[in-house]
């Protein structure tokens, strides 16, 4: 816990003098730690001359930021219209069933956190999913099984 805070404090001092520092700082924390721990809010608030409520308000406003540790991999399934037109609804149902989780939940083996996403910009190759930083197009249920197996390995 102490080590985590030290790591976050270092990121705070790297970013605090940027104009509009809060979002870049939150990204840096989530990139490095995997999430934005609520315990860090007081430190962030103090460094940026904000109230803790303001920090909480910003973290909770944006879908990208999370306040709890995710699984080892993040699987995002696109829910937007283009993917819907190519059957993403059944892909979503398939993912939830295979992983035995709903959106925003992590599998019991902590391998995968499942998230919805609204467009990955891969709309010519719908339906699309993203596993960590990689996008996959024209994804079938079998393709998804393959990705899940790879992530769980």
């Amino acid at each position: 816990m102490q080590a985590l805070q030290t790591q976050i404090d270092a990121l705070i001092s790297q970013h605090q003098n940027m104009p509009g520092a809060l979002l870049p700082l939150l990204h840096a924390i989530q990139d490095n730690v995997g999430y934005v721990p609520e315990s860090s809010y007081t430190h962030i608030a103090k460094a940026l001359s904000l109230s803790v409520a303001e920090v909480h308000g910003v973290v909770s406003f944006y879908h990208h930021f999370r306040t709890h540790k995710p699984g080892r991999h993040i699987l995002q399934i696109c829910r937007a219209e283009s993917c819907q037109s190519m059957g993403s609804e059944s892909l979503e149902a398939h993912a939830k069933k295979c992983l035995n989780v709903d959106y925003h939940q992590t599998t019991t083996d902590e391998a995968i956190t499942l998230l919805p996403v609204y467009c990955l910009g891969n709309c010519a190759l719908s339906p699309a999913v993203m596993l960590d930083d990689e996008v996959y197009g024209r994804v079938s249920a079998a393709d998804l099984d393959g990705l899940i197996a790879e992530a769980k390995a």
Binding site: G20, L23, F65, A124
Partner: protein
């Protein structure tokens, strides 16, 4: 002799296995002792053919696709490095019908060059626009952009030159250029393609904008869902800075322009310019009241140009070839070209840049090849989640801002999503409300509360409860949202809802009226 092989690094190409194909070709060629140089170019935008591999020949590049890893050995067996025929042969890339008929101005280099090579950019007419701009007065640069007829490609279609003129006229020590790269509309990917496949053209466009209005700092507000664009932009900014195209003394002109990429965080509403500025300032992306206009009081309260990626990336060719050259394309008040994105249930999805005026039908069938599922196309949504659904009877509408306004639709950012006849339009209307409820910033009541009430009422309609009464209620609610919302999110959600209801009443359990 070394053979040049082009394999895209675009993320849609990667989504079809381009990375694995590149590795396989390199490995297989090495094992066979063949001398191959692999160049990771951008995608040509014929996405159904990805991974599309091209080989350089004396006649031009020859394409093969869609290539899978399992095809690599047979391609080499067939001697594709010498452009010999194979089952996946597509012929000369430039002669492919889909590409040949396009009018690529903004996308002139996309798919041709190595996106992060400054040398390649310059060799393909890059930075000619900036050089011309540096020889002009600020007012003349703005006039050139105004005369070209360029209108905001993000969706609002406001004349770019007029926006610049307002910022130029403001007296301030600090001004900003902000690029709206929060491309959140489903069915759109042209911003992503520019940023991944020709990032320098955006950088050049922003630099010209900075020089024109006297802004020394630029920010690209990039959606967090585009990690590959982030890498490409940062690499390009670094080499442009190193070569003196960015920095405190741009090309020794004595003018400064610095550029930084800032990551968004997954809020759709931040594509709205004032909410974007709040977010850049490190706050919740809550929409601001207008006035003041961002051009007068924008980022950190300073005069700010906020333009979409495509608008800014179109500026270099206008400054290179002149306002008239650009304005000669198009129809009516829609001048120039529009990078159109064909998406959803289409056989041939991808990027088609054409002058305004082409009809939806030509795009859907001549370019799109009809539906991917082989069923009839029943509806298309143009302009993202806030765009209207159009039935087959409106497919002959030409792409033109004013023509779309006439049929109560929008062109938006040029994304076209096709649906086949299995689509349930009541479900799509429900989704429009649901999306608005999820993404509302919460500042104004019509959007915050209206969207949630909308989902509830549509659920009743779907369940067949008091249909006539509830349809009337949705119309009333839509009227409130249309006229009472602070920004386009609440204000345009009625477009998909009402268009679905008007054009496909049978899906709502009501007779065709």
């Amino acid at each position: 002799m070394t053979t040049k092989v082009y394999i895209p690094r675009d993320s849609s190409a990667l989504s079809m296995g381009a990375e694995k194909v590149a590795v396989a070709i390199a490995l297989e060629a090495k094992q066979r002792g063949l001398d191959v140089e692999i160049i990771r170019n951008g995608s040509r935008g014929l996405y159904w053919l990805e991974t599309m591999v091209e080989v350089a020949t004396e006649q031009g590049r020859v394409a093969y696709g869609p290539v899978k890893v399992s095809d690599v050995a047979s391609l080499l067996d067939a001697d594709f490095l010498n452009a010999k025929p194979h089952a996946l042969s597509l012929g000369l890339t430039e002669e492919m019908d889909w590409l040949k008929k396009q009018q690529r101005l903004t996308f002139a280099r996309v798919g041709i060059t190595d996106p992060i090579s400054l040398t390649d950019y310059i060799a393909h007419d890059g930075y000619k626009g900036l050089k011309n701009a540096l020889a002009l007065s600020a007012a003349d640069i703005v006039k050139t952009v105004t005369d070209s007829g360029l209108r905001g490609r993000g969706g609002a279609a406001f004349p770019t030159g007029i926006k610049w003129k307002t910022v130029l006229a403001c007296e301030a020590k600090q001004k900003y250029i902000v690029c709206n790269a929060d491309e959140g509309d489903s069915g759109t990917f042209s911003d992503r393609m520019i940023m991944e496949n020709d990032p320098f053209v955006l950088i050049e466009g922003m630099t010209i904008a900075g020089i024109a209005v006297g802004a020394t700092q630029g920010y690209i507000y990039l959606r967090s869902e585009y990690p590959h664009a982030l890498v490409a932009l940062n690499a390009a900014i670094a080499s442009a800075t190193e070569a003196g195209y960015l920095g405190d003394n741009v090309l020794a002109s004595g003018k400064a322009f610095n550029l930084e990429v800032r990551r968004a965080a997954g809020a759709y509403v931040c594509g709205e310019e004032t909410s974007l500025l709040e977010s850049l300032e490190g706050k919740r992306g809550v929409v601001r009241f207008k006035p003041p206009l961002p051009a007068i009081e924008g980022l950190f309260g300073k005069p700010t140009v906020v333009n979409n990626v495509i608008s800014l990336a179109t500026v270099p060719i206008i400054l290179d070839k002149g306002a008239q050259y650009y304005a000669d394309y198009g129809m009516g008040r829609s001048r120039g070209t529009l990078p159109i994105q064909l998406a959803g249930n289409l056989k041939h999805g991808g990027l088609v840049e054409l002058a305004f005026g082409i009809t939806l039908r030509e795009l859907l069938y001549d370019y799109g090849g009809g539906s991917a599922t082989g069923k009839p196309i029943r509806a298309v949504q143009v302009g993202g989640p806030l765009g209207a659904f159009l039935p087959e009877s409106q497919f002959d509408t030409p792409l033109d801002y004013e023509e779309f306004t006439k049929i109560w639709a929008v062109l938006g950012h040029g994304g076209i999503v096709a649906f086949d006849d299995t689509v349930d339009m009541a479900k799509m209307a429900r989704y429009a409300f649901e999306f608005c409820a999820i993404e509302s910033c919460g500042k104004c009541t019509p959007c915050r509360i209206g969207a949630t009430r909308g989902v509830e009422v549509i659920d009743k309609i779907i369940a067949g409860k008091d249909t006539v009464k509830n349809i009337k209620l949705v119309r009333d609610l839509s009227d409130t949202m249309l006229n009472g919302s602070l920004c386009a999110l609440g204000g345009m959600t009625p477009y998909p809802v009402l268009s679905a209801m008007n054009h496909f009443p049978e899906d709502f359990g009501i007779a065709n009226t």
